[in-house]
């Protein structure tokens, strides 16, 4: 177990900057998720930590040791690749035992460790097979077993679940998380899937265009996004965004646009007048509740998922997406009254896109 420290890590490919001055401290035994859309630099950052890419600027420390210029093999890390990279010319047991064999461990120890790792992943009966005789899910288990067999100081995972089907993905999600908890290995996990990030990560680092947008627990990322991008990227359906003005009426600040006026809590630093109001679909209700704002609109599309219902509603100030729990009988074209929970609104500066509420 080591603490991983990234100091102003920057990676450039020619003129494009893939990773831009990222500084993060990852605690011993922490499970951290690098989350972002494709092309945000999350995989490049992971490859920098692994040593497969050389950083252009900045430093990477494992505990107090500087590993910035060490080749991958000297970092005591392991990695699970997106396409598994299980070597096709080696049997499963040789694949798993490979890292130990390279370190010239005694045969007895290799066998014990391979057995241990394959038991952890439930693949003991596959040890004598070749990778092409395995299903995708089994191959992925072999890749994970190979990654933990040497008991690495840092475990890196590059979208390990993205090639699995939906059911298996949900299953492996909890298994990998449980495995990590029992091994207590510092883990860095790259994904573009916010559900994976929210369910697995102790902390989530959201990246965009090579820059760190926000880092924090799922609670913080979800409820206190620092900017418009994080607010829009996390949560499904996406947060509603409405262009608003902030006005002062009778000593109370309110956000306003046509057909909508919401009072703001006191002591909000307001400088300019143009803002973007954010409200999550589940914070708009169909029943009146205290401290809420009523808006009306016409239902234009209904997504009946049965566990919950998503309504798309046209209002005077634009489209609102509303998520209500359970079955809800609504007809398209009907008028509906909605209640926005005033305590749950977010406010972003239009220019800087930074959150002020």
């Amino acid at each position: 177990m080591v603490k991983v420290t990234l100091q102003e890590v920057t990676k450039r490919f020619g003129k494009t900057t893939a990773v831009n001055r990222i500084s993060v401290e990852i605690e011993k035994g922490e499970f951290i998720v690098l989350l972002g859309p494709s092309g945000c630099g999350k995989t490049t950052l992971l490859r920098c930590i692994s040593g497969l890419e050389k950083v252009t600027e900045g430093r990477i420390l494992f505990n107090e040791g500087d590993v910035t210029n060490l080749p991958p093999k000297d970092r005591n890390i392991s990695m699970v690749f997106q396409n598994y990279a299980v070597w096709p010319h080696l049997k499963v047991k040789d694949n798993i035992g490979f890292p130990l064999k390279i370190k010239k461990k005694p045969t007895q120890e290799i066998e014990t460790k391979v057995k241990w790792a394959s038991e952890m992943l439930g693949i003991t009966e596959l040890l004598d097979r070749y990778p092409h005789q395995l299903s995708g899910g089994q191959r992925q288990r072999v890749a994970v077993a190979r990654a933990i067999v040497m008991e690495p100081e840092v475990l890196l995972m590059d979208e390990p679940l993205s090639n699995l089907d939906a059911l298996l993905r949900v299953k492996m999600r909890s298994e990998i998380k449980k495995l990590q908890e029992s091994l207590k290995v510092t883990t860095i996990y790259v994904t573009h899937d916010q559900v994976e990030a929210m369910t697995m990560g102790d902390r989530i680092a959201v990246l965009k265009d090579g820059k760190l947008q926000q880092i924090g627990g799922s609670n913080e990322i979800y409820h206190k996004p620092t900017n418009l991008f994080v607010a829009g990227f996390i949560g499904s359906p996406q947060m509603n965004f409405i262009n608003v003005e902030v006005k002062e009426e009778e000593n109370i600040l309110i956000v306003a646009t046509s057909g909508l006026e919401i009072p703001l809590p006191p002591a909000i630093p307001i400088k300019k007048s143009e803002y973007i109001l954010g409200i999550r679909p589940e914070d708009i209700h169909i029943k009146e509740l205290p401290n809420s704002t009523r808006v009306t609109g016409e239902i234009y599309f209904v997504e009946a998922l049965r566990s919950d219902t998503v309504l798309h509603v046209n209002t005077d100030f634009g489209k609102l997406v509303v998520k209500i729990p359970g079955d809800f009988d609504a007809k398209e074209g009907e008028n509906i009254s909605l209640y926005i929970d005033n305590s749950k609104i977010h406010l972003f500066e239009k220019e800087s896109e930074l959150s002020i509420l």
Partner: protein, 269 residues
């Protein structure tokens, strides 16, 4: 149902005709190679009645095709060795690294094939005489390596491109240096393709006759030796010589056809 039958019959007929088209010369070469001279010249039989090994015996020992075969095999083997020593690293570099002028380099490698070997043969002979390696094994090996190298470079580069780079990166992560990762992971995975291109190089060298004829007098390769001896002999010797030339290539292709197909990126599976 009748339609199906007619269709399969037609397929069979067409396939049969195509096979016959290619097989007939080989069959006649084989028959004539073993025919006694009497039967060969007898106009009453198309297919000879009596067979003998005596043409082979004479070709191999009297006309020193045996010695030439050994030279041909050595030339082919050394050509493979040299062209792989130079070509495999080049192919690997072309497939794995990005560098300036990569495409130009690829084109340049290919453009060496623009000059027919016949044009190169005479200047080569003069240069080889000046540095004293004319009429030697190494002279032909060098010429054949020049001929084969562009193919080896381009084919191996596409073979390495077909080996997922993640396999290599996994090896780097799990404890190997770059060179060890190449030898322990990439090379075994590329082996079928490399074997196929070795066979390709072998056949190119084995069949090459023009440069070998010009560059050598005493140490002739098999095709060059046959050209200068068997072609001046009675007809059945020509067939025997043709048979000797064709068999190794056929045997190789028979065993390597699976790999040969993989060479062009198609899989039989």
């Amino acid at each position: 149902m009748d339609k199906e039958k007619i269709k399969s019959l037609l397929t069979f007929l067409i396939a049969g005709m195509i096979s016959l088209w290619f097989l007939t010369p080989i069959i006649f070469i084989t028959l004539s190679a073993f025919a006694t001279s009497k039967d060969y010249y007898n106009p009453n039989y198309i297919i000879p009645r009596h067979y003998t090994f005596s043409h082979f015996y004479k070709l191999f020992f009297t006309l020193s095709a045996g010695h030439a075969t050994l030279i041909s095999l050595s030339v082919a083997a050394l050509t493979i060795l040299l062209s792989f020593l130079l070509g495999v690293p080049a192919g690997y570099a072309l497939s794995r690294y990005k560098f300036k002028g990569k495409n130009t380099l690829k084109l340049t490698v290919l453009s060496t094939r623009m000059f027919p070997l016949m044009i190169l043969a005479i200047p080569l002979l003069i240069i080889f005489m000046q540095i004293g390696i004319s009429d030697t094994l190494w002279g032909i090996v060098l010429a054949h390596t020049t001929m084969v190298l562009p193919f080896v470079i381009l084919i191996t580069s596409s073979i390495f491109a077909g080996v997922d780079i993640a396999f290599e990166e996994a090896a780097l992560i799990f404890g190997l240096s770059r060179s060890k990762a190449f030898f322990k992971i990439t090379l075994p995975l590329a082996l079928p393709g490399l074997a196929a291109s070795a066979i390709f190089a072998f056949i190119m060298s084995w069949n090459e006759v023009f440069v070998a004829s010009i560059l050598t007098l005493q140490n002739r390769t098999l095709p060059a030796q046959i050209l200068s001896t068997a072609m001046d002999s009675p007809d059945y010797y020509k067939f025997t010589a043709g048979f000797i030339m064709a068999v190794p290539a056929l045997v190789f292709i028979f065993f390597a056809r699976r790999y040969l197909v993989s060479l062009w990126g198609i899989s039989l599976k």
